[in-house]
């Protein structure tokens, strides 16, 4: 894994790699180099499988983070590339020509985060939600509890307990041990 990163580091701008495990590494790359790195990983380094393409909403920094996770089946290595996008613009670069499955991920991101990928097939069609007119629901400025309270009727009589105090009261009076 480290050899691959050394090899890439000569030619591309890589951020500090974060090793979650020996075979799982996250690294931030520049957006304009993403395509070149992905292509090289796929064709030269043997990362043939796109495991995941997902997004994180960094609302405080006004940014979206796209995570492209690619996997080398033979060497059992997983490398995740992070790309930061501007939150206002929210336009990514499609990679459906590298991995056809990416088109589905991009449709999902379009619907759930509102990140659009120009050129990706059927990206503007409905994916899971039908007739959704509100904010994309996975954005953090979309409050799902407030939305559900304003949309669906509650049944009166529902109470909420704090799990810790509730369980202490009903089942485990002497928890933590000796605290009585």
């Amino acid at each position: 894994m480290r050899h691959i990163l050394y090899r890439l580091k000569d030619r591309y701008h890589l951020g500090t790699p974060v090793f979650q495990r020996d075979d799982l590494c996250f690294v931030t790359v520049k957006r304009f180099e993403l395509r070149a790195i992905l292509t090289e990983l796929r064709d030269v380094e043997g990362f043939t499988h796109l495991t995941l393409l997902t997004a994180v909403d960094w609302i405080e920094e006004q940014q979206f983070q796209l995570t492209y996770m690619v996997n080398n089946r033979v060497a059992n290595l997983t490398l995740a590339l992070r790309v930061m996008l501007d939150r206002e613009d929210a336009t990514g670069d499609t990679i459906h020509d590298l991995w056809p499955t990416a088109a589905t991920y991009q449709r999902e991101l379009r619907e759930m985060f509102g990140i659009t990928f120009p050129g990706s097939p059927r990206v503007d069609e409905e994916f899971i939600l039908e007739g959704w007119t509100d904010l994309p629901p996975y954005r953090r400025d979309f409050d799902t509890l407030a939305y559900s309270q304003q949309t669906y009727n509650d049944r009166p009589g529902r109470v909420t307990h704090d799990p810790k105090t509730h369980m202490q009261k009903t089942l485990y009076a002497d928890y933590p041990k000796g605290a009585k």
Partner: protein, 230 residues
């Protein structure tokens, strides 16, 4: 951390445009004729549901109710995780067949619609269609706390919280998820309700039709089907 963002307001109702293939339009037939088609009207019967009276004689009605209770045909339609709890009922361990309960593949032949768990808005649309296509008298059973008050999906943006806003429910089975034994017990209770002649959900639906439709249309934003599909 605050649970609810007080400032958040949901988008006031924007009309969702009808899908293109469902819009009324003019078509030219192969032999050059111009005809108007309206897919929503052409394929479906639009009549509102009727309230069907009971049989005149009480004895006959009781006899019918006994037959209905002992021949519950369930529509094979699973919505949430509860669908997995229905399957064991067919196995040797629980064997619901001995109570006259069977699974039918088509709504036309089913009497009981089991909403087995959480119901997303997208599925609700299908559930309503299936329910409306069933012949009267028909019964609805809500499975699990999701159908009662939202359950663990109480803050979800696309699952409904109260099933009885949208469909007339005859029987709830509580639990998350209810075990097959609880389901069997629910069936037995439903039988009792039917035998007492209280299983009149379909007539309730027909009486409060406008109310139910208003509720349904409030959450189903892209209403692309007729108001009542028989």
């Amino acid at each position: 951390m605050k649970d609810v963002d007080d400032k958040f307001l949901k988008n006031p109702d924007t009309e969702v445009p009808l899908r293109e293939e469902l819009r009324p339009r003019k078509v030219t037939t192969p032999d050059g004729q111009e005809i108007d088609i309206d897919p929503l009207r052409d394929y479906f019967c639009e009549a509102k549901p009727k309230v069907h009276p009971k049989a005149y004689s009480k004895i006959v009605e009781d006899f019918y109710n006994w037959a209905r209770a002992n021949s519950l045909w369930i529509l094979g339609f699973g919505t949430g995780c509860g669908a997995i709890e229905m399957r064991p009922l067919m196995t040797p361990r629980f064997d619901a067949y001995r109570y006259g309960i069977q699974w039918r593949p088509t709504p036309r032949q089913a009497n009981l619609l089991v909403i087995s768990g959480y119901l997303s808005v997208k599925t609700l649309k299908r559930a309503i269609r299936a329910y409306e296509q069933m012949p009267q008298p028909k019964y609805v059973m809500g499975l699990g706390s999701c159908t009662i008050n939202g359950g663990m999906y109480w803050d979800s943006y696309n699952t409904i919280k109260r099933l009885d806003d949208y469909l007339p429910v005859d029987m709830y089975v509580a639990g998350c998820m209810p075990r097959p034994e609880a389901l069997l017990h629910g069936f037995m209770e439903l039988k009792r309700v039917i035998k007492e002649g209280k299983g009149e959900g379909a007539n309730l639906y027909a009486e409060n039709f406008d109310q139910y439709k208003a509720n349904q249309k409030a959450v189903i934003r892209d209403w692309d089907m007729p108001d009542y599909n028989w």
